[in-house]
Symmetry: C2
Subunit: 292 residues, 2 copies
């Protein structure tokens, strides 16, 4: 039985799926991510190995954080990887052709497939950082330099907070996981949930942080809509796991800004925003589709 | 001899070209634009008619301002057109298949052809309003709703000026022709030239208007780079006709903002910005290519 294998390399887990010729998922595995070049390679090979048992693997796709160019991963800080030729190493060990892609682009392709090919589509990853994967004509938009979708660093307020990127008032300073955790200031695994809960209970500082998050996410949707005009913007990533309260607030923010603007109102942005289902793992699926 | 004909409908002139099978321009004509539905149709047919003499026209492409959907043009204020089924009317009179496209998208396709197919490419039209045409894989990006590239209405300053669109601090409030003319406040055909001249002579108000224009244009380039990552952003449109002083200032602004940001600096934005040659007419050429 032949299959394509897709691997999503995350900071804590490696998720992998085997996909049949019709795009249906045949099997899944999940492994802990071992950090560093050798660790990441071993984690990926282990996941592929267990899916390859009893199957002929015709191609492998891998989605990974960091800068990806020509199969090489660079500066994937979350993985402890400075530089790793993932395509060459995995291909040499597996004998199958390997495609490596930015994890957000791979996830966007997975979301696109899950939703039946709606297009153009944007997947807005609200994680530690913020970036979007954009699918046009069934293909992730990579751009000339691999930075398509890096809208977290669009400045939206000249008097805004400093961003570690060196600019001021970037969307990330409002809505990225790093910004929320830093402003909330407590050592916790779930700063966004805590902020939403405290804001709902009336904590003024939490309200401010939550409202900035919502304004930042809405600004990202607006930039995507005006630049690329996707049929849908699907919110995913760690920050989005707070779920329905975030979606409702982002929709309300978009509705509010449209109320004063017939132009914005005509774009119906609040109707285009959706939430990734909490149990979905589009990254591995999208990576598998890239393989083939 | 067969040819495709491309027509660019402007507020004052209709420009048209006949293009051979190899994409080379065989002939050009220019006519005054007559306003209103009947006037625009007559102007377009006259231009096509004079190019069709002695040629078999295999297809016609038309770039026009306004909202374009399924060959119908709506709300083209500059042309005095409320609603016009341009594709049906021109096809009935010419017997050739007709494609109608947004003028900025058609121009972007023309620029793409003039530059030998570089991609992705963005054509940033700094005219009365601001919009970009984005060419990906040789095709203009239209988006789900025909609003791809409408980056003039991305808000970049929550305390910025009110925009007629109903938002505040849109890129257009800084850099659109309408905003510059309104702020300069003199009845003149060339407010941008006057502002640049007065600013160079030290007029404080002109310096402020000029610097806002430059900041707005740079913000538009940044949004395009981070969302779509084009290999090149070509500046065109009426405001860009002030020429080299604008290009130098936009490049300096992009260089300045990158100086504080290793991330922005790695994008080399100032090297990606170029100016449309002053005698170029990419709109008609792009429209002809759409025909085929």
């Amino acid at each position: 039985m032949t299959a394509r294998v897709g691997v999503d390399v995350g900071g804590t887990k490696v998720e992998a799926v085997a996909v049949g010729g019709d795009g249906a998922v045949l099997a899944r595995v999940r492994r802990d991510t071992i950090r560093g070049e050798e660790g990441v390679l071993a984690s990926v090979l282990a996941a592929i190995g267990s899916l390859a048992e009893g199957r002929s693997v015709t191609g492998i796709g891998i989605g990974t954080p960091g800068q990806v160019q020509g199969g090489i991963v660079r500066n994937a800080v979350n993985l402890g990887v400075t530089s790793l030729d993932l395509a060459a190493a995995v291909s040499a060990r597996s004998g199958a052709p390997v495609r490596v892609e930015n994890d957000v682009n791979a996830a966007a392709l997975g979301v696109h497939a899950m939703r039946g090919g709606e297009a153009p589509l944007a997947y807005l990853n609200l994680g530690t950082g913020i970036a979007a994967g954009i699918v046009i004509g069934g293909t992730p938009l990579r751009g000339a330099d691999g930075t398509a979708g890096e809208i977290g660093h669009v400045p939206v307020d000249p008097r805004g907070r400093e961003c570690p990127c060196g600019q001021r008032g970037c969307i990330e300073t409002l809505a990225a996981g790093w910004a929320i955790a830093a402003r909330w200031g407590r050592h916790t695994d779930h700063p966004v949930r805590e902020v939403f809960a405290a804001a709902a209970a009336g904590d003024a500082r939490a309200v401010e942080i939550r409202d900035d998050l919502v304004r930042g996410a809405a600004a990202a949707v607006r930039v995507l809509a005006l630049a690329v005009d996707p049929a849908v913007v699907v919110l995913g990533g760690g920050v989005s796991r707070v779920g329905e309260p975030l979606l409702s607030a982002v929709r309300a923010e978009l509705r509010g800004s449209a109320a004063a603007s017939p132009f914005l109102s005509s774009l119906r942005l609040e109707d285009r925003v959706e939430l990734l289902p909490p149990d979905a793992n589009p990254g591995a699926l999208g990576a598998a589709l890239l393989a083939g």
